[in-house]
């Protein structure tokens, strides 16, 4: 029996959730080792040894130590091709290319404005940091443009990379979840017909529901 893989980071972190969602989809046993970022656990020497940028998550299995949530997800899919959702990262090169394309689009186009909004609207108030209205407006506009592209795409395709749920869709879950559930700007997603439909489908997956449960069991930062 393989030892569970280890994921380091708090369950409330969006990047940690990305990895946890992937492990759940792939039915890979894992141990979540939480970190208290408010106390600076992620900047301590022991952690910096496995994640020198002082960011979460970090990942370890018997063979390798990895950082960057999207790289970890790709590795999990390729290391456990026969487990859980076999098509999560595509089963042929063309499918994989489409998934990589939308995974990159998430990382490059969706993530920056959505992360900024999640920080400003959901996290800053909790941390007693003053919100920046200019940053909020700028990122709302940016995200709206990105979601216009998604609206068109999701009118032509059930999921971003094709007919099946993939890593590309999964990668959006953490930030989108915060936007819809922890801010008052959720309608940026839900008011668009196709994006709304897509959000409903992907957020209803068992794997994501389990992640949400895990988050609820944590105290707020």
């Amino acid at each position: 029996m393989a030892t569970p893989v280890k994921v380091y980071g708090p369950p409330l972190s969006t990047a940690v959730c990305r990895v946890v969602a992937c492990l759940l989809e792939k039915d890979v046993e894992f141990q979540l080792i939480s970190l208290n970022m408010a106390k600076g656990d992620h900047k301590k020497p022991d952690f910096l040894k496995i994640q020198p940028f002082g960011q979460v998550p970090a990942f370890q299995d018997e063979k390798i130590s990895l950082l960057e949530s999207r790289a970890i997800c790709r590795y999990v899919c390729e290391n456990y091709p026969e487990k859980g959702n076999k098509g999560l990262f595509g089963t042929n090169p063309l499918a994989k290319a489409s998934i990589d394309q939308w995974l990159e689009a998430e990382g490059q186009s969706f993530n920056p404005p959505s992360s900024a909004l999640v920080f400003q609207l959901a996290l800053a108030p909790r941390m007693n940091i003053k919100q920046d209205e200019g940053v909020i407006k700028q990122n709302e506009e940016k995200l709206a443009k990105v979601l216009d592209v998604y609206e068109k795409r999701l009118g032509e395709s059930r999921f971003l990379a094709g007919d099946e749920f993939s890593l590309a869709d999964l990668s959006h879950l953490p930030n989108a979840h915060y936007l819809v559930n922890a801010t008052d700007r959720g309608e940026i997603l839900t008011s668009r017909d196709n994006v709304g439909r897509w959000w409903g489908e992907i957020s209803n997956r068992d794997s994501w529901k389990k992640v949400v449960d895990m988050q609820k069991q944590q105290h707020s930062p």
Partner: protein, 213 residues
């Protein structure tokens, strides 16, 4: 069938793709997209790349955008042709992906914003923000310190051989070191400097640099 690469040979993201195709010996044709004229925001172009960005490739009926997705595709398709840019084991491949992500999320924005401040805004007759430049430089120094640490233990980012992970850094670092005048960020770090010398001396990169600059 020749791969069509839409973009400019001078732009960083198309260069990432062109460097990969040159390394793998894949024939391509550059289809110029006039960014200054806003060609990339016109309806005809948006049909190819809905975010209005370059590059996008067309390979027969197959289309793909996002430079790091494109290089992954071609490095895998032609794994047995030219140098292997993906690593030999699953673990090596994971490190290739890891450093591609590090480049994309920890280095690219800093480098891009420095080039914006130091090169692009002045060209447009606009003033750059000195405080911001200083801030960006400090952050980039911190990131490159980690690269220095890594490259003191490993010849290339993902292991002993040149891979997509190293290749992905070429365009932005070249701009930083040349037009943006930030060469010291690399040259002051022994291992980063040695790595840069190796990767920027590769024939494929030299060929691209001569086409572009």
């Amino acid at each position: 069938m020749v791969v069509k690469v839409y973009g400019s040979v001078k732009a960083a993201c198309p260069q990432r793709v062109l460097a990969c195709l040159l390394e793998k010996g894949v024939e391509f044709e550059i289809v110029q997209v006039d960014l200054d004229e806003g060609e990339h925001k016109r309806p005809e172009f948006l049909l190819r790349q809905p975010f209005g960005q370059v590059p996008v490739i067309e390979d027969g009926d197959f289309k793909l955008f996002e430079s790091r997705a494109i290089i992954r595709y071609y490095a895998a398709k032609y794994v047995n042709q030219g140098p292997n840019l993906l690593g030999n084991t699953l673990e090596e491949k994971a490190l290739v992906d890891q450093w591609l992500e590090v480049e994309a999320h920890n280095l690219n924005d800093l480098a891009f914003n420095l080039v914006l401040q130091l090169v692009i805004l002045p060209r447009m007759g606009q003033r750059s923000d000195t405080a911001l430049v200083h801030n960006l430089e400090q952050k980039l120094e911190a990131v490159l310190n980690i690269y220095e640490q890594r490259l003191s233990k490993s010849n290339y980012l993902a292991g002993d051989s040149f891979t997509l992970a190293d290749l992905s850094h070429l365009p932005a670092l070249r701009y930083l070191m040349n037009e943006a005048g930030m060469a010291h960020l690399v040259t002051q770090r022994k291992h980063v400097n040695a790595w840069w010398d190796k990767i920027s001396s590769r024939p494929a990169w030299k060929k691209l640099a001569s086409l572009a600059h």
